[in-house]
């Protein structure tokens, strides 16, 4: 019973919407959806060589992975890596942003200083930290030597290698996330603080009850980014540890790379990629649907 004019208008709006979407949809199809499907496809084939050509083997590649102890070690490493880098870098970013946003002397300098690690390419950052970590010559050891501490090979022993990697990542990411927090803090009007002051709220109460809730959308955004980074940011592994010693600092993506380009085992690499995609998708969905509902967007 709806009026034909309104119907037409609605259809026109729909077409208009699809037209606006199509460039992005096209690019995403070519560069994201198609490659994902192709990966999925190739993950179900065996690795071919001259004698046995590649053939369809269903989920066998996945079964192999689940039976591979290195795979599980790498997964554990990556979970630990994410479990430390995400909360710590967010916490540091937030603290720095709150501090750099308050009325402190040399505010511009502080902000720039915090942001500097972000503009460095990951490879350069890793080289910088190599200079810190190198046993004997490194800055850390030199400082340690001043206090009579023995030389430590931070990158060379299984107990410390992953931690060393984690610290570089946090150092690199915190400044980047701080910029987002700073931008969000600037949008909180000054008079909210004044109103809270008059109501007798302490600085901490104000931060907890007003600032943090208003930063929730930013936090959500940063969390998703940090999570993705914890999987995809592996450049520094190439410089610092190459996943060693004895796989102690190996992360999933590095293992994928190794599988594909060092061992030339593309099908297993593809299977692992699919698993990563699946997990990332699930976690992102949870973050968006659960946290989003409790988030206030201005």
């Amino acid at each position: 019973m709806s009026n034909p004019h309104a119907n037409l208008e609605r259809r026109r709006q729909a077409i208009y919407g699809w037209l606006l979407l199509s460039p992005a949809a096209l690019l995403l199809s070519v560069f994201a959806f198609y490659p994902s499907l192709a990966t999925l496809w190739s993950s179900t084939f065996s690795r071919g060589n001259r004698r046995n050509p590649s053939e369809y083997i269903g989920l066998e590649n996945y079964a192999d992975l689940f039976a591979d102890p290195t795979f599980w070690l790498v997964v554990r490493n990556n979970l630990f890596y994410a479990g430390i880098t995400i909360p710590v870098s967010i916490f540091i970013a937030l603290s720095m942003a709150l501090w750099a946003n308050s009325k402190i002397p040399a505010r511009g300098f502080v902000r720039t200083a915090y942001f500097t690690p972000t503009v460095l390419p990951m490879i350069a950052a890793a080289n910088l930290w190599l200079f810190f970590y190198t046993p004997g010559l490194g800055v850390l050891d030199q400082i340690g030597a001043l206090f009579g501490l023995p030389s430590v090979n931070w990158l060379g022993q299984p107990e410390t290698a992953l931690w060393a990697i984690i610290i570089v990542t946090i150092w690199k990411e915190a400044g980047f996330f701080m910029i987002f927090y700073l931008a969000a803090l600037q949008t909180i009007p000054e008079d909210l603080k004044e109103a809270a002051d008059i109501e007798g709220a302490s600085r901490w109460t104000y931060t907890r009850r007003i600032v943090l809730p208003l930063l929730m959308p930013t936090t959500l955004f940063i969390m998703v980014n940090a999570m993705i980074n914890s999987v995809k940011l592996i450049d520094h592994l190439f410089i610092l540890t190459k996943g060693g010693p004895s796989d102690a600092s190996k992360l999933i993506l590095y293992y994928v790379w190794e599988m594909a380009f060092a061992f030339f085992d593309a099908p297993h690499a593809a299977a692992m990629t699919m698993l990563v995609l699946l997990v990332l998708g699930i976690v992102a969905a949870i973050q968006f649907f659960l946290i989003d509902r409790r988030t206030h967007y201005q």
Partner: protein, 352 residues
Amino acid sequence: MIPQPFVSLDGIAKSWNGKIGVEDVSLDIPEGAFVALLGPSGCGKSTTLRLLAGLEIPDEGRIVIDGRDVTNSAASDRNLSMVFQSYALFPHLSVAENVIFGLKVRRVPRAERLEKLRRALEITGLTGLEDRKPGELSGGQRQRVALARAIVAGQRLCLMDEPLSNLDAKLRHAVRKDIKKLQQDLGITVVYVTHDQTEAMSMADIVVLMKDGHIQQIGTPQELYNAPVNTFVAEFVGAPPMALIKGHALAGFDNAATIGLRAENIRLEETGKGRLTCTVTECEFLGAETFIGLAHEHATGLTLKAPGMALHPSGHTVEIGFADDDLHIFDSGGKRVARTSLTPTAKRHDQA
């Protein structure tokens, strides 16, 4: 014994990098008064209010509230509430949470909190909107939430910075009455900033008129209207504002630099009997009366208030008359001069 003022500002000054915000502001406010800070934009009204609230600390002077020197105390120690020009509502909290924010901070027990919330919402007519976010309210409703937040605190002093500036004319009129009634019912002291002289004159017991960071006059609305201390006050207060005529334009007033005259004291005269001859510039019909704008080479703001519909074609020449008693005399510095201090020659001449 003279009762101690409830709020007292004494020689307050505040400047930013040598630029004056306010200077030498002294003001005593008795308890229960409705005080309006009035003045043009940038005159220091908000600054005065923020100094009183503790959001700024004065460079000089003393602030006493309820017998306590609070010059350097934090805002939270001053036991006052404030309605911000921008409302300053917390956007992520519901109306109810916004209103009881301060009570929660001050750890008021839950039952008492809910009771106070209910009363505050009832008084401000917000019942039923408890769960809305500020973004889902109209401007007037937001304004009332800000008001509810201020009264729920139960403080005896409430500061308001142009709380009605974002409302349309009709709503503004209604809320103006609400605020006034609320203030009287609760018996609180209100300091109210506005740049709208009608608002100040209609609501306030005491009007403080400011200009360029200095207080020009403190007094009741009647005092400001009937005895402006200088030409600035004369021109700022009243609609239409007071007309100013150069002294030498009027026979017998050569010693007065400027003479002020209100529209309601001017009357049309027959040709030859008037004291000034002017040209009509415009007519503004307001229903019950008509304002006729007049031009004279030695006068500014001359307006004649005629009852009912009384349109005159512009360019028309008219003569006007007025009584000496209705004239306000100002010296060359713009200061008000008592009429008796004028050389009496002119007057005696008149009376003879």
